[in-house]
Amino acid sequence: METLEPILAAHPFLQGLDSRHLKVIAECAAKVNFNAGEFLLKEQEEAGRFYLINAGQVAVEIFRARGGPSTILTVGEGEALGWLWFEKPYHWHFDARAVHLTRALALDVKALMQRCEQDHELGYALMKRYAHMLAVQFRVMILQLVDFYGK
């Protein structure tokens, strides 16, 4: 059976993670593909899986009744999709849809949380990466709000 550890180890989000931890994460991971237009996440749906993108591009969208979907961010190769899965009430706040054929590793949130509870070192290592990713996303959002290009 194919092991996902090398693929996980190569992903920038998990770079530098202990092999012991990679093995545990691999138990919660599965390879997934999405065709262009397919949804990875839907607003209000249970946050069951989050994704490490290996190839392709995903648009994170917000749907407006009058304007339809607007893309607020794209997530591509080497990035992670699905923030705040560890925050109650454990559902997604946005839609996310593949822009092109997208290959990713899906991580089972419940299984992963359980393992993080059992092994706080793993939990801390993951949270550090999440904190970094959230800090980057926060900065991006702030810069988008600033409206660089305003007259």
Binding site: G67, S70, T71, H100, V140, L143, D147, F148, Y149, K151
Partner: protein, 279 residues
């Protein structure tokens, strides 16, 4: 060899040959010199003072190809009285031109280096001549990457050209917008965030940056984080230039006159002034 300016305060009347609409408020004008006038030689990154007779004069970067000096190309956003008047000009009408002025992009130092060209909004216009120059001499450089951002897909300038550049095997083009409707299939996010996708050797990379101040600030920070040397990062500063010769002082930035000492500066030279809020 650049034009010798006989009387740098005297505009030369150029005729509008063509007007292209880039976006809702941005136009590219192709200008033809008067009969008998020499070709308009300039270096990438230089600017001209454009004079709409009876309205006023504004500094506008040259956005055309420095290897094609038969015509002069400027891209203008209609934001004030003069720029609105420029954008309203029709084919055959006349525009006064003084220039070229200013310190250009240091493209002559780029051979052997990876080059990152980074632009935001209309900032693509002043770096476009540098891109032409680099592409015309492509084998001389390492990786060549363009990172360009705008507010929405509708605000992208030189869109066809971007698509053409993207089709090249030897030039990587990354385009991002702040927000987009469902039919946009490109990136959404901000320019500094795309730097992580560019391929370059930080120790041998030259970066040319032009765009809004906030964008440049965060872009410079990201490049420094990635190990690019301060002295190899070049920024194009925008100030209220009037004379173009460093005489009037309108464009003063600390000890510099942006029209004469810039608009292109190595970041290490202007860093203190770049970050100072009061100037």
């Amino acid at each position: 060899m650049l034009n010798a300016i006989a009387d740098p305060m005297l505009p030369t009347p150029y005729r509008v040959l063509k007007v292209n609409r880039e976006t809702g408020d941005t136009f590219t004008l192709t200008l033809k010199p008067p009969k008998g006038a020499p070709h308009f030689a300039f270096a990438p990154g230089q600017f001209n003072m454009l004079y709409v007779f009876g309205v006023g004069e504004v500094p506008i970067s040259i956005s055309g190809d420095p290897d094609k000096p038969e015509t002069l190309v400027h891209t203008v956003r209609a934001v004030g009285a003069v720029s609105r008047a420029i954008c309203a000009l029709k084919k055959g009408e006349t525009l006064g031109v003084r220039g070229p002025f200013g310190v250009p992009w240091p493209v002559e130092k780029a051979p052997g280096w990876d080059v990152l060209v980074i632009a935001g909004g209309l900032g693509l216009a002043p770096v476009r001549p540098a891109v032409y120059h680099l592409l015309a001499r492509r084998p001389q450089y390492g990786n060549l990457e363009l990172i360009y951002g705008a507010r929405t897909p509708e605000d992208l300038v030189f869109r066809r050209e971007l698509e053409r550049w993207r089709g090249r095997f030897d030039f990587r083009v990354h385009v991002t917008v702040d927000t987009a409707k469902g039919d946009w299939r490109g990136n959404v996010g901000v320019v500094p965030n795309l730097i992580s996708r560019a391929r370059f050797d930080p120790e041998h990379t030259m970066a040319l940056i032009c765009g809004p101040g906030v964008m440049m600030r965060f872009t410079v920070q990201e490049l420094l984080n990635r190990g690019v040397q301060m002295e190899n990062i070049y920024v194009s500063m925008e100030r209220n230039m009037k004379c173009g010769l460093g005489l009037c002082g309108h464009c003063q930035l600390g000890p510099f006159f942006v029209c004469k000492d810039g608009p292109v500066f190595p970041y290490d030279r202007v860093r203190d002034w770049f970050l100072m809020r009061e100037v």
